[in-house]
Structure formats: C-alpha cells, structure tokens
Symmetry: C2
Subunit: 122 residues, 2 copies
C-alpha cells in the first residue's frame, strides 16, 4: 500500500464522537480499495496525527494526503496543524506528505447541509 | 417572520472560524426567504443559543428549528445541548422549539465529503 489518506479530526472525550469519521473511513476504503485510510486526532483521542503518519511510513507508504475534518478555520487549522505538518515533513523527507483544505472549506459540503435543511423546513 | 432556523456551532477564538457558517446562513436565506436564519454558538463566540432564541421570541417568532453544526456526537451534543434546549423550552413554553439531529449524523454530508476526497485522490 503506497498511498494513504489520513482523516484528521479534533477528537473528543466521548468515544462515540468519532463514529461518523469511522463511517467516512469505511466509505473511502470501499471506493478507494488501493488506498490506506486511517483516522487521527488533534487531542483527546488516539492516535495522534504524528503517530498515524509514523506508522504509515514504517509500513512503506510513500504518499500521504491529510484531510482535516474541521468546519471552521480557527486556531487549530491556522496554528496547530501547520506546525504538525512541518514537523512530520522534516521527520520524513522521503515521503510525499500533503494536506487538502479542511472539509469546511468545500462548497459541496455546505450545499449538502443546506439541501437537507431546506428539505426539513418544507 | 413566524418561523426561524438557528445554526448552532461550537464557536472558536478566531472570528474567521464562523465564515463557513455565515456562508450557509446566506445560502439558506436565499433559498428560504420567509424564514429567519441566525447563528448561535456554544462557547467562545457570541451570540449564545439562549440569547439568539430570546431575541427571536421577542421578535414574534413562533417556530424555531435549531440545527447543530457539529460533526460528532460527544459531550457537547449529549450533555450541554439538551440542557440548553430544556431551559429554553421552559422559558418560552408558547414557542415551538425543536432541534434537528447534528449535521454530522446526516449521510448526505459524509457522502459529499467522500465524493470530494475520491475526486482529489484520482
């Protein structure tokens, strides 16, 4: 498995919080059978993003795409996340490590939300 | 304006964090011109959910639908949110106040996210 995706979420105390991310993971594993899809968290849940990336690199992954599962662009994405990415790139210079924008920046996501709300309001 | 929707998010220190929620608000105001759509936050940002609901009730709104803009079902949705809803219902018994499930429970949202990730991975 040379290519991998990390779904990177905030994390929470309640284990159930991660269930939708696990569902997304299952959907992606189904649609991208040749890509390794794992979860990672900023805080309160394990594994951390660096731990997940370390494991993938040890497993021979050469290309890692991190997808931040965050709605808004606040301190976590502006400050914490770039620092983590820089540290991981420095640690694993041989790996192609990149990040997409956060899902909250994707119009299609808000369009899907708006569609549901409009349907429920009529 | 007798009907209203409150987009209820977590909140953050960085004002830019709320931008996608404001975009959703604009989309909904466009698609539901007869519904009052406002934002409210659990913490770190104003207005709070009770303040927004109080204002709406003062403005004559009779039906309020709260949409939690949260990905996961953790302590905020399991504990904080039901307490807020119960307090508001007690304070405004004449108003029909209801909540949808959180957007993170909606399959269409995760399908939209998966679709984008798959497109970006190919």
């Amino acid at each position: 498995m040379q290519k991998a995706i990390v779904l990177f979420g905030h994390g929470a105390r309640d284990p159930q919080w991660a269930d939708p991310m696990k569902k997304l993971q299952a959907m992606l594993m189904d649609q991208l059978p040749h890509v390794n899809v794992e979860l990672a968290f900023l805080e309160l849940m394990a594994p951390s993003l660096p731990d997940t990336v370390d494991c993938m690199v040890q497993g021979g992954v050469k290309h890692i795409q991190v997808v931040p599962i965050f709605f808004g662009k606040g301190g976590h994405l502006k400050n914490d996340f770039p620092v983590l990415m820089a540290q991981m790139k420095e640690k694993h210079p041989q790996v192609h490590l990149e990040a997409t924008s956060a899902v909250g920046q994707w119009d299609a996501v808000w369009q899907a939300i708006a569609r549901q709300i409009v349907q429920q309001s009529q």
